[in-house]
Every structure is written in C-alpha cells, then in structure tokens.
Symmetry: C2
Subunit: 174 residues, 2 copies
C-alpha cells in the first residue's frame, strides 16, 4: 500500500502523483481490511451452513424479492455486480441443484428469465436466519443507529461516485 517513493514525484504520464497522506493511508487500509474480513467471514458462514457462495445466496435473495421470483439474466447480473458470463455459469450450477430455472422471455426470445424454484425458495428460507444472524453479529450490532445512518450515507456516496466515474457521461471528450 505504501508507495515506494513519497511526496508527489512525477508519474510516467508526466503528471504529478498525489500520494495519500498518513491519515488517508490509514483510512484506506482500515476500510480495505474491514471489507475483506467481513466478506471472508460471510463467505465462510454461507459455505459452512448452506453450501452456497455469497453470490449464489444473493442472486437467489434478489430473485425472492421479485413478485414473480423472476429476473432477466442481464438484470440479475447488474443487481449482483456480476458479469453476465459469471452469472451464466453460476445459474447453470444452481439450476443443476434445482434451485433455479431458466426460460426465454415469451415476448422477446433474446431475454432469458431466471426464476427461483419452490425448492430454491425453501433453500433460501432455511439459509437466511444463520446468515442474517452473522451480518448482525459482525456488523449491525457493533454500530449504533446513528452510526449505521452514517455508514449508509458514506456507502451510498461511494457507490454513486464509482458509478459516475465508470460512465464517462453522454458527451465526454473523445
């Protein structure tokens, strides 16, 4: 993390490099550590208790929130931050386990709908309590309501900024 040289030298591109100062550095490292540890812990909990990966669980959870327990593959990919390719492989595996089905959209055959089966729903229902308990134990119960609000606010701003910077805008300088 600490760059090998300090104090705004010159980058390959010719511009000055704006390094992180010690506080920024410490914040970045603390945040990175917390997110990795939390993710690792939840991944292990789900694997151990439900034999599901984090993404498998959350893909099924998103489907369960839809009225028809159905989403297009591309929508589900978007919502879960997965590539379409990754999701396609993953859905095929979950389909093999009987938790999901796929069927072409009747109105437009280019779209494929992924849908949670009754068995998938039961699997999710059986897996949720232990997962929720872990989220509560490791994150929610550590913070006071006011702090949760702050964390949510900061998180939403970070997400918004990343999304902004990934979409260069309708009339960016080409």
């Amino acid at each position: 993390m600490t760059p090998p040289a300090r104090k705004t030298p010159t980058s390959p591109s010719g511009g000055a490099v704006h390094w992180l100062d010690d506080d920024e550095q410490a914040t970045w490292r603390a945040f990175s550590n917390a997110t990795i540890k939390l993710r690792t812990a939840l991944e292990h909990q789900l694997k151990r208790d439900a034999d599901l990966s984090y993404l498998e669980y959350h893909a099924m959870a998103r489907l369960s929130e839809e009225p028809r327990h159905t989403l297009r593959m591309s929508e589900l990919a978007e919502l879960t931050d997965a590539s379409l390719s990754r999701l396609s492989h993953l859905v095929k595996r979950l389909e093999g386990r009987g938790f999901l089905r796929r069927e072409p959209d009747p109105t437009d055959g280019r779209f494929i709908n992924a849908l949670l089966t009754p068995r998938g729903f039961r699997k999710l229902a059986a897996s949720a309590p232990a997962h929720v308990a872990e989220v509560r134990l490791l994150l929610i119960d550590e913070l006071r309501p006011s702090e949760l609000r702050v964390l949510r606010d900061l998180s939403e701003r970070i997400t918004a900024r990343i999304e902004r910077s990934e979409v260069p805008g309708p009339d960016s300088p080409t």
Copy 2:
C-alpha cells in the same frame, strides 16, 4: 438479502430470529454494494494497468514496507487476509515472473521468507501511481477529512469485532 419471512419466527435451532429492520437492511445493502463495486473497480484498474491482481499488488506492497523487503509466508498470509495455500500458489507465480523470491529462514528451516526482488520493487513503483490515483478518485476524494476519520473509526471497530468473534477466547465453553 430480504429474508423470505419477516418478524422473528423460529429458527431451526429453536431460537427466535432477529431479522434486520428496513434501515438496517438498507445500510447493509448499501455497504455491501459499495465495497463490492470499489473492489471490482480496483481489481480492474490493476489488471488493466499493471497486469496484477489486487492480492498480488498488496502482497508486494506489504513486503515493500518491511526493512528487508521480507516476510514469512505465514505473516504475509495473515497481513493480506489470504489463506496460506492461496498465498503459496500466488507467490509461486510471482516468483516465476521474477517479482519475488523465496528462501528458508536460516535460523529455523520451517519458516519460508518471501522477499521482494529489485525487479519486483520496480514493478510496484511503476504500478503505484495509477493505483493510488484510482483509490483517491473513487474513495478518498469523495469524503471530507472529518468523514474519512469516521470511516476509519467505523472500519477499525468492525475489524476488531470480526477478529474478536473469530477467536473464541482462551477459555471458551467447549
């Protein structure tokens, strides 16, 4: 994320399930989204600009902070939140690329020291500016100094809680 049933029903283990309320749910989802998006963006940046994974970069960065550019495999695994097995495979690959070397600890042959080569150090130096710029762009520059302090504080507490809950303590009820 949303559990299929609501309001503290009974879990398989017999205890009441304490679901997340809407605010807690929203916070958890916002935080999860932000961390996934940030991690994905940084992973892509490093792959694109330096042909390194996030873990590869950070393993090298940790080594660069040591006086002798050296750490034991087990220490490096700990510091980077990687399993020893994962790190072993990864170090072998980086060794093949000439960025790291491995050598047994002279004083105790059970320990293996991983150390950054001069070439690895130059690779890191060349890769750092673009990576730091991305961290700044996506995270640091979005937040005011006071907010960075809050984020750091919350992150450190979350990390501490996870570490506490993973180590059951010296005399836990077996």
